[in-house]
């Protein structure tokens, strides 16, 4: 040690390379495949939209001329302010309503919590059109209220869109707020009480700060859902044009693809902005709950319990009413004139009929399988195969959540229906619908998978390596079984969304690949509202059935593969 130790500058910057093994080759291949998929089906199509917004319809470069026209044509430009207005209004209403509901479900001893939870989740099983249909059936020109009271509230337009979005977005906000309210430290409440804080002061100083990140998240999620939604404004918007319907009008109605691309790019801005701000806010989140936290056990508070019971009952009744109206209207001769029972509306004669339902189920099942596999392998590649590509791949993986479905659909037209491109082979197949769904809903699955992987001991792969077991074997034998609950949740998420989505697929369905949600739209367009309601009922029923089957299957799966988690609870006590 008489020799002087080297300084930082004397140590080489490069590290001693390991010899490339077969395993490394597989790792690199996985990274390359994942990158290729994200490039081909996400980045490249989006760039196409961007590029096409700078061209005229004959393919000549015209710079920002499309944008100038967009902003200077009052009829089209109005869609921007309209979109912002309904989205902000829906956001404020939804988050406020969902907060009370979430609080009741997590922090009170209100009875029938399970029932209220299930009812609130119903909108997840329906296309966003359905909420709008129900509003029309009740408040529309031929709605039951309008007919019986003679009072027309003017539901077509902003009012109807906002109301439909509130119900459509309600479960999304509720889930986030419930998660935020569920984790807290009871010791904070004990401390507040010992310091003499009353209920209001405790709420303002302990409850609200504890869930502020959840509130912000819920706001952004609802805003993004509302501004990118196409179904509700299409069904109930009337002449009130928002950006999503404007894209549809430009593309489907006027065949004006470049203007569609222009509106798409503008629609991307608020969605991406909301996403970026949300990420920045969440980054500042610190662990409020530590391992020493005590869970909060709600106490009996008669006024709060019963007051909130009434509140929840009111909201749940509204939600239940929506689906009751849809169900009844699909089963009667002619709502609201003839309430005689009939099944004739289920005898579909347009828009692909039952074939579209089978297509939807196939697409949803394959989306669930492919989406789950890709999100977990992708998350694994990003988390565990640390390369220079990890950062960009992560960014691309979280990008889809801020890409509106309409924009993705249009991007796929540009990419997969381009003359002379080999990618055209995909056009008009079920495969392109599956791919579009997988990409559209990629982010939530990817983040769920990432969280599941991060919760696992980082040394699992290292133990495997030291024992000479290749990483893919450890992935299959250890990572996948441990992550099974997340895997099931993610596949369920993909399935349900693929069943109900409209915006991402409306541009790319083709004769032979009709989908149920698109059929609902077409039937409604054609004036067959009862058939549209009937198809909606079948979509909802499919979703609920699959959810039940999953639930039953999971009970079996849990008892067989997750035995170790029960052991911990049962026998961990005496040891600890």
């Amino acid at each position: 040690m008489s020799v002087r130790a080297p300084s930082a500058a004397e140590i080489p910057d490069g590290v001693v390379r390991h010899r490339l093994s077969g395993e490394d080759a597989i790792r690199w291949a996985l990274v390359a495949i994942f990158a290729a998929i994200l490039y081909l089906f996400l980045l490249y199509p989006l760039v196409q939209v961007l590029w096409r917004s700078l061209l005229d319809n004959d393919g000549h470069f015209i710079g920002a001329a499309n944008y100038v026209r967009y902003f200077s044509t009052p009829a089209i430009a109005a869609s921007i302010t309209n979109s912002l207005f309904v989205s902000v209004a829906a956001m404020a209403l939804t988050v406020a309503l969902a907060f009370g509901y979430a609080y009741a479900l997590t922090r009170t001893l209100m009875p029938a919590k399970g029932l209220f939870r299930v009812l609130a989740m119903l909108p997840l099983f329906a296309p966003s059109l359905v909420q709008a249909f129900a509003l029309i059936y009740v408040f529309g020109n031929n709605g039951i209220i309008t007919r019986t009271t003679g009072l027309n509230v003017g539901i077509y337009g902003a009012k109807g869109i906002i109301l439909a979005e509130v119900f459509y977005c309600f479960p999304h906000a509720l889930l986030i707020l419930m998660a935020a309210l569920a984790v807290t430290d009871a010791r904070l409440y004990d401390a507040a009480r010992t310091l003499g804080a009353g209920p209001v002061k405790t709420f303002v100083t302990v409850t609200l700060p504890g869930i502020k990140f959840g509130l912000v998240s819920a706001c952004f999620v609802v805003f993004t859902l509302a501004i990118t939604d196409f179904g509700a404004p299409k069904a109930i918007g009337g002449k009130f044009s928002v950006m999503a319907t404007e894209i549809y009008n430009q593309v489907s109605g006027q065949q004006n693809f470049t203007m569609g691309a222009t509106v798409s790019v503008v629609l991307l801005i608020p969605a991406v902005l909301a996403f970026v701000v949300d990420r920045l806010v969440q980054r500042r989140q610190y662990a409020l709950v530590t391992s020493s936290s005590k869970p909060l056990v709600p106490e009996r508070r008669l006024l709060a319990d019963w007051g909130l019971l009434g509140y929840c009952a009111l909201i749940a009744a509204f939600i239940a009413a929506i689906y009751a109206v849809i169900l009844v209207s699909s089963l009667v001769h002619r709502w609201p004139y003839n309430f005689g029972f009939t099944l004739k509306h289920y005898d579909f004669d347009t828009a692909g009929g039952y074939r579209s339902l089978w297509n939807s189920i196939r697409v949803a099942a394959l989306t669930a399988a492919a989406g789950t596999a890709l999100t977990f392998v992708g998350a694994y590649v990003v988390e565990k195969c640390r390369t220079a590509a990890s950062g960009p791949l992560y960014l691309l993986s979280v990008l889809p959540v801020s890409v509106p479905g309409m924009v993705l659909g249009l991007a796929y037209i540009f990419t997969f229906n381009a003359p002379g491109s080999p990618l055209n082979a995909l056009y008009g197949t079920l495969a392109i619908l599956i791919i579009s769904n997988v990409i559209h809903y990629f982010t939530v699955g990817f983040l769920t998978a990432t969280t599941a992987l991060k919760q696992m001991d980082a040394e699992f792969e290292n133990v495997g390596a030291s024992l000479g077991v290749p990483f893919y074997r450890t992935f299959w034998r250890v990572t996948v079984p441990i992550a099974l609950p997340s895997i099931v949740a993610v596949s369920m998420y993909f399935f349900l969304n693929a069943m109900v989505t409209l915006s991402a697929v409306v541009f790319i369905v083709a004769p032979g690949t009709e989908l149920a949600a698109v059929a609902v739209l077409l039937m409604d367009d054609a004036g067959d509202t009862a058939q549209a309601a009937a198809m909606s009922v079948l979509i909802i029923a499919t979703g609920l059935t699959v959810r039940m089957l999953y639930w039953l299957a999971m009970r079996g799966v849990t008892s067989r593969t997750q035995a170790w988690t029960r052991g911990a609870a049962a026998e961990g006590e005496p040891a600890g």
Binding site: M1, G14, V16, D457, E459, F460, N462, V463, S466
Partner: protein
């Protein structure tokens, strides 16, 4: 070492960005040896272990195992077993399947694997827990499963990364003996990382004391304790009193305040130069025992702390503002002295126990 070293490190250096984690580490581990990397957190000991394991890649230097350069080999080809601080047991596999994990890929017959698993579980005393899941075991039992899993493929080298730090004190004590006994019986070369000096002293054949990315001293437990080469080692391993001193004209003597003390040979400063003297609390003689011998002083008792088997006595020498010393006296011996706080006490700092180091801030 006469025969080939089991592990030989040459000039290992590692940096993370501009932060240097390891500077030029060279080290040789003999076959069958139990080596501890000991040091405070951030000293680079775990990084060094991970470089040996191939889980971290060094910026410079080579790693040899049994004479073979493994620097460029991925972990799977290096032939070692490892136990992590978290154990990293696979929670979804039973104890038996965990232990079998490294055997199942080696084209071994199921019969042979089953026998080997039973043998190892018997070795760590967990045969009856074979079909349980890790979460059903106590921390100490989990630790032993991890050990059995690492040893199952009969690796040439066993790496232990703070294997006992997650356990409570009593379990830790008994596992120390168990791991050490197992290692002796199997004769497997073992490198353990720890920040617990007591653990290192109790278990290791040789201790590598590390600080700030460098090796401060390599030696047997007694050697490191008795003859720390640097003030850092003296402070980190065991308790140590330090006294600022000035070299006296006579060689081997130093002045602390008004008194001149004789110290161990080893370090010499030029007369008038600053140096540091060091003595362990249990090496200070007090009471009648301090009346003979060199380096006798009178100290005042400032604080008395009863710690069970012994009493820790805080002393000042040379009056107010003088040097502070801590001295450990057997509880019965201290009671026999019949003194308390504020009393004066004769003490002696035996010259053979009084070590000399360069004053802080001077290069070695």
């Amino acid at each position: 070492m006469s025969n080939e070293a089991a592990v030989a490190l040459e000039g290992i250096a590692k940096k993370f960005g501009g932060y240097v984690a390891l500077r030029d580490i060279s080290l040789s581990v003999g076959a069958g040896e139990f080596i501890c990397f000991l040091g405070p957190s951030g000293c680079g000991k775990t990084t060094l272990l991970r470089i040996i394991a191939g889980l971290e890649r060094q910026n410079a230097g080579t790693v040899r195992m049994a004479g073979r350069d493994v620097s460029s080999l991925p972990p799977a080809l290096r032939n070692y077993g490892i136990v992590f601080q978290s154990y990293a047991l696979f929670p979804n596999l039973t104890v038996g399947r965990n232990v079998a994990y490294g055997l199942e890929t080696r084209r071994t017959a199921a019969r042979v694997i089953a026998n080997r698993v039973d043998e190892l579980l018997a070795l760590v005393g967990l045969a009856r827990h074979k079909d349980k899941y890790p979460a059903q075991l106590s921390g100490g039992e989990q630790q032993r499963v991890a050990l059995a899993r690492a040893l199952a493929p009969s690796p040439a080298l066993l790496l232990l990364d703070e294997p006992l730090s997650a356990l409570d004190a009593r379990v830790r004590q008994s596992l120390r003996h168990e791991i050490r006994g197992l290692q002796r019986r199997l004769g497997v070369t073992t490198i353990m990382v720890t920040h617990d000096q007591e653990e290192a002293l109790a278990m290791a054949d040789r201790i590598v004391v590390m600080n700030a990315g460098e090796v401060e001293q390599v030696g047997g437990p007694t050697e490191v304790y008795r003859r720390p080469r640097t003030p850092f080692v003296a402070r980190f391993v065991g308790q140590m009193n330090f006294l600022s001193a000035v070299a006296a004209p006579r060689s081997g003597w130093a002045r602390v305040g008004a008194v001149e003390l004789r110290h161990q040979p080893g370090f010499e400063a030029p007369p008038g130069g600053a140096l540091t003297l060091a003595i362990r609390p249990e090496e200070i003689a007090v009471g009648p025992a301090a009346l003979q011998g060199d380096n006798r002083l009178t100290a005042r008792i400032t604080v008395v702390q009863f710690l069970g088997a012994f009493t820790r006595v805080g002393l000042t020498v040379n009056g107010e503002g003088g040097a502070l010393l801590e001295c450990d006296v057997a509880a019965t011996a201290f009671a026999a002295l019949g003194v308390g706080e504020g009393a004066d006490l004769p003490i002696a700092l035996a010259p053979e126990a009084l070590r000399a180091f360069p004053a802080p801030g001077r290069a070695a």
